[in-house]
Symmetry: C2
Subunit: 140 residues, 2 copies
C-alpha cells in the first residue's frame, strides 16, 4: 500500500521507520528521498528504526549499507536503532556485519549518540564543518 | 508483513508512524501497545504521523478518535501530523471531522504544540499534575 517511506525531520536529524517489505523500487525511492532531505535540511544524522522488522535479508542489509555510505558522503551519520535480537543473529549468520553502520538500542539512545558523534566531529574538524556550511549556502 | 506498529519513545512523548493498511487486529494491538507504553513511560503526549497514508477511510478515522479518547483518559494528548491535503478533503467528505484530535503539519510543529499543551496543562492544574505523579509512583 505505502509507496514512500515517510522521512520525519527532528531538529538536525532525520528519522525513518521501516515497517514494510522493501522491494527494489521502494528502496531506490527511499535512497533518493533521503539524500534530497539530507541536502534540503542540511541534516547531520539519520536514525533508521527497524524495530518492526522481524526478518532481515541480504537485500535490506545491502540497502542499509548503501544508505549509510551515501549519507556519509553527504556528511550525515547513520544510526540503525531498535534491531530485534533475532535480526542481529540472522545478520551475522548471513555474513552481513553492517560494517560502518552504528547501532543503538532505541531512538532516544540513538539520538544521544548521534548528537555526540556530530559534536565530536565539530570539535575535531571545525574548519571542514564551516567549509561545508559555506559551500551549501553558495549552492542555494 | 508487519505485525505491530512500532511506538518510539522521544522524551516525554511517543511517536508512531502509520504506514500500513490497518485491519481490526492491528488496530486493537496498536491501542493496547500504546496504552501500555503511555502508562509505562508516563508519556504526556502521542504524535501520530500519517504522512504515508494517501487514503483514509472511516475505519482509520474511528481508530484515531478512539486512540485520542483513550489517551486523554490516561492524561496524554494526541496530535496527528503529516496529513496529506487529499486525506483532509476525504475526511470532511466522509463527515469525519476528527473532533477532539489536534493536528499539525509535521512532527516538529506537532512536538512544539504538544510541549505547549503539556506546559499549559501544568500551569492550569499543578495540583492534579503532582497528584498523578505520586499515584503513579505508588503503583510501581
Amino acid at each position: 500500500m505505502v509507496e514512500r517511506i515517510p522521512i520525519l525531520k527532528m531538529g538536525n536529524f532525520l528519522l525513518l521507520s521501516i515497517q514494510v517489505d522493501m522491494h527494489d523500487q521502494l528502496a531506490l525511492d527511499l535512497q533518493e528521498d533521503l539524500t534530497a532531505q539530507i541536502v534540503k535540511h542540511r541534516s547531520r544524522g539519520v536514525l533508521i528504526d527497524i524495530s518492526a522488522l522481524e526478518i532481515v535479508d541480504s537485500f535490506i542489509g545491502r540497502m542499509l549499507s548503501h544508505i549509510a555510505q551515501v549519507s556519509r558522503i553527504l556528511d550525515a551519520k547513520v544510526i540503525v536503532v531498535g534491531m530485534q535480537p533475532a535480526v542481529a543473529i540472522t545478520l551475522v549468520e548471513l555474513g552481513l556485519s553492517l560494517e560502518g553502520i552504528a547501532t543503538a538500542l532505541n531512538v532516544e539512545k540513538g539520538m544521544r549518540r548521534l548528537e555526540k558523534m556530530v559534536d565530536d566531529d565539530m570539535i575535531l574538524e571545525p574548519e571542514s564543518g564551516e567549509a561545508r556550511d559555506i559551500s551549501v549556502e553558495a549552492g542555494d
